[in-house]
């Protein structure tokens, strides 16, 4: 069995993944995204940076921290008929919060009230429509960067002017959400295939609760209700190996915030007692041979 692990560099997660492959007597070829140089029209018989033709790989596992590199690599590899995780379709949807919201809407997945506008003036109206406090997010990006919680018109005006003046066109798509009055935590659930294998609460005094920003991870029981909404949300974006982020609203109902397709999990196996890397790798291996 020949597997390529596509990475930007090696982080804790990639080491856990490699160890999980090794446990199944597989040692993937590590391919660095910085060394990719595809000829679009030559197909999978061309050599990968590993010196092996792409078509020799039974599977490519994409773990790039660079979202654009990972996504375009998947676009090319999938178009040549190679099996890869996640698929390009899933990656393209998850890497864009607006496309994710549309995917949720189509399947009736509960999500925060969200509006989109394209100028500072219409964005101001969108903010007033969802009411204060509102949340402004770039449509692409991660680790809680450049998120803003806006409490009044003064700060809304300032943030919109800054984004319009200092940001490139990506920041001129104004994705505006109601602030969900969550209980000092949110939920990160790990979905592999159609199963929620584990979930954590991310607790913080800050409204941004990402563990990358200091949020504390504790076990969140995977109830049937949680499993059901996560599995449906994951399916709505195309399915695969996904981290589903949920919020609990003031009435205790789940709303799905977003889905991450290159999940980080280094802090989540310990509190949940689930070997996330092994679950992921066993799923990946199990998919080889399954007709796409």
């Amino acid at each position: 069995m020949r597997i390529a692990l596509l990475v930007t560099h090696i982080r804790a997660e990639e080491k856990l993944i490699l160890a999980a492959f090794n446990k199944r007597d597989i040692s993937p070829d590590i391919i660095l995204d910085r060394e990719l140089n595809f000829d679009i029209t030559c197909g999978a018989q061309q050599l990968a940076p590993s010196g092996i033709a792409w078509r020799e790989y039974d599977l490519v596992f994409e773990r790039c921290v660079s979202t654009s590199r990972g996504m375009y690599a998947l676009a090319i590899l999938n178009s040549w008929g190679l099996r890869a995780f996640n698929t390009y379709e899933t990656a393209a949807t998850c890497s864009d919060k607006l496309r994710t919201s549309i995917a949720f809407m189509k399947r009736g997945i509960p999500q925060p009230h969200t509006r989109v506008a394209f100028t500072p003036e219409s964005a101001m109206q969108a903010i007033e429509d969802v009411k204060y406090p509102a949340v402004l997010k770039p449509v692409t990006g991660s680790w809680g960067r450049l998120l803003a919680r806006v409490h009044n018109r003064d700060s809304a005006e300032a943030i919109l002017e800054h984004r319009q003046t200092l940001g490139d066109y990506n920041h001129h798509t104004y994705y505006v959400q109601e602030y969900v009055d969550k209980p000092g935590r949110d939920i990160r659930a790990f979905v592999v295939g159609n199963r929620t294998i584990a979930a954590i609460y991310r607790e913080s005094n800050h409204w941004i609760t990402n563990t990358a920003r200091g949020g504390l991870a504790t076990n969140c029981p995977v109830t049937d209700e949680l499993d059901d909404i996560c599995a449906r949300a994951a399916d709505a974006v195309g399915g695969g190996i996904l981290a589903v982020d949920l919020l609990e609203d003031a009435r205790g109902n789940f709303v799905v915030n977003e889905i991450n397709h290159t999940m980080e999990f280094r802090n989540s196996s310990q509190p949940t007692g689930v070997d996330i890397a092994q679950e992921v790798i066993d799923f990946v291996i199990g998919q080889i041979g399954v007709v796409a």
Partner: protein
Amino acid sequence: MASKDERDQQCKRQQEGEEDPHPLSMGLIALDEEIEHAPAHTAGFLLCGSASGECAMTNQMPICPVCDGVVYIPSDAMENELVSCAECGTELEIMCLAPIELELAPEVEEDWGE
């Protein structure tokens, strides 16, 4: 700085060369056991070139390119793994394992993440 090809060649030579063993496969590993008193987050990390100057491979101590401090390298380190300098916090990438060669990790770009 060596070009990537030169570096790869060098890596290959060093990894194949029998009389020039991997620094992580010799004396340094033993230090692992000797740092039980180290805080948990450094357990399994090599304390090379400590203040006591007892490192067996003084000429191969991994040095931070920013602050010249000595960098802890995990005993299971891999090429292209990120490590950070305990002294100045700079994120570094292990470009070569034998001998250890560290470079500044690339700056986080706007599209980086999950």
